[in-house]
Symmetry: none
Subunit: 213 residues, 4 copies
DNA sequence: GATGAATGAGCCTTCATTCAT
DNA sequence: AATGAATGAAGGCTCATTCAT
């Protein structure tokens, strides 16, 4: 039985997840995300990953494919756990505040803008990458919030005619004046206080519009 | 006569605004804004401008400088005339609707995303360009709207505690769900109806929060 | 018994003729002869042979050596059985016709040109290979035919002063206008009729010159 | 009038025949013809031509194109003036002897085999090049000789049923045993005497078959 | 001032070969 | 013996930049 179990062992590093592969992806992310697709060179990536240039091509057939793998991985990492709601939590104000602050922090945090810039830049030539990024990122967040709003509509805690648009507008309002200066790369990361202030206004506006009188 | 001829030419090589210079800038804008900084080649730019590659370097010392000049010029063209308000117009709802629709159309219009992608991409390496773009574009719009809101506060038509943030959040709300899919390059330009619908919600939300009871 | 077993296996790892070695040679021939020395890659050869790249180097120390082995083997396969003569057959016309047609078919047949091109190409850099190919191929044919002509001289059926040159000229005449267009890779394989026509003229010319009056 | 004449002057070096272009072609021929297409590197060609690698690509868009230009030029140089016949010269034996010796010398001369090997090698991948080479070389020679034979048929000096095949077979016979060892790159260039001997046999055979009794 | 020929550094990619397992 | 992961030296080609005319 033990022997059998051993035989079953699922060929742990099937190439899809070997150490070298991860090593390459890590090096490539660093370089791609800080330089952009064009300015990143395979040589630099190889050096950053600590492998030879040839090895890069053992794992990825081209620069494009390597880049695609990076972005796909980056997508999964977006806002993990941020858009998780407790349906039974009817304190909408608190929920929105928590979400808004988390979201603004996530967006403006150090290192968040580079990947975003890189993806936006490449979207011109590789639309599928732009689409994948949007759908696994912003869109999923909006949909999740909208679903929560639906439950609160049903619970009578809110009265939102179009929950999806309300959700999107709320998310956008939470980063107004905060994120664009970071994205355009000339402003320091806003501090907690400032973020809380802006999110507070967003929440108040939202509730003024959608809280049942 | 020869002397006179010489005297007539007013500032012969004004460099800053010669026809050739404009010609180059025009050609360069087309190429830069549609391909991005890295993918654009000086050769292609020269061809688009109808001059020789050497001439490019007579007017601009490097590709970077030429690109900077393009973006600086592009900034000036942003949303011209969109953020012009009639202070005496107290029909805030109408004003916001007009502005919101104009803004969303402007953002999502064909050809608008490429330059934006290009600027965002280069902001990583050239922060001053990102700054210049933001300040002459989004920021100016926000400031202009905030100023109008100030006047309406004063006139008693509104009650907005922080007009700058309110302005920014309103602008952002007008493009929610509309612009990002275009920026990420996978969705068609939204139609007028859809835009009006989203803007309508933004306006209602704004007024619900800020119209004096 | 054990001893016997050991004694039985005649030259266990004869290296020179192991199954793996033959396997590699077979795969390599396909690739080398259809792509040429430079265009053939060791990777492709490994795949064609169904072994790993590393194994190639277990049997052959370099690409050059492997190629050499292929060509040496290819030499042996040249025109097997074509240049076999019945010394007692005094119907020279029939013998030459049979030989000429067989030779022209052999030269022009599908797949014959690629190896030839490959050998000619490599002769520049590896003269020994060119020499081996010529001597085991064309030269052997010429010598064999010359020997037959000698016997017919002796039998009084022919009167050929220089049988070796006569043999070579006859062989060449049999493929005139037929083979070069195939070798230069722009003409289809000539049909049987055309071949028979050209060979017929070669035979008539030969007999006109060398048949005793 | 003089001025006008000057203006008309046809822009002498239209790029098609500039000194640099010739310089590149010369360098490229040396390298291509001695190494073959694949083994020749653009870097080595640049060095041989005394220009930079970039300059190569100013004049030729790719390695293939450059190679094609070399071969096209090489075609023109084939057997210039060898296949010129005096129709009124009825001394066929002398004509054929002169032609045969010239042809064999031309084929076997130092430096002649390399281009041939190179063209044969590349014919696998670039059939048009093989075709162009054959048609401007061997074929033209055959056609020219056939035309001469036609005139001598008409003049009653010969009786050749198929002049084209007779021409081709004669040409081939002139190099039998001589050229292949050179092509396969292991034999020294045959001396004049040996050539004359082989050609002499070819001529005798031809006349035995085709001289009217 | 304007040109365009020329450059050379650098890019992505391939491939013969090696070596630990 | 056999593997296949890893390497590093090229290779073809592009392009920002320079400079003689």
């Amino acid at each position: 039985m033990t022997a059998q179990t051993e035989l079953i062992r699922p060929e742990a590093e099937a190439d899809e997840d070997s150490a070298k592969r991860r090593q390459i992806i890590d090096g490539a992310r660093t370089v791609f995300m800080s330089q952009g697709f064009d300015a990143a060179s395979m040589g630099e990536i190889a050096k950053a990953a600590g492998v030879s240039k040839g090895t890069l091509y053992v794992y990825f057939p081209s620069k494009e494919e390597l880049f695609g793998a990076i972005v796909r991985q980056e997508c999964k990492a977006q806002a993990e756990g941020l858009f998780v709601f407790d349906t039974d939590d009817h304190d909408v104000e608190a929920v929105l505040n928590r979400l808004g602050n988390g979201y603004a922090h996530f967006l403006c945090r150090k290192g968040a803008s580079s990947p975003l810039r890189t993806v936006i830049a490449i979207a011109e030539r590789m639309p599928e990458i732009g689409k994948a990024f949007y759908q696994t990122g912003p869109e999923r967040g909006i949909k999740a919030l909208a679903a929560y709003l639906d439950t609160q509509n049903a619970a009578g805690a809110l009265n939102v005619p179009d929950t999806e648009i309300a959700a999107a507008q709320f998310m956008d309002a939470c980063q107004s004046t905060l994120f664009k200066p970071v994205l355009f790369n000339f402003a320091p990361i806003p501090n907690d206080e400032r973020i809380a202030y802006v999110v507070g206004i967003a929440v108040r506006t939202f509730l003024a519009a959608y809280r049942p009188r």
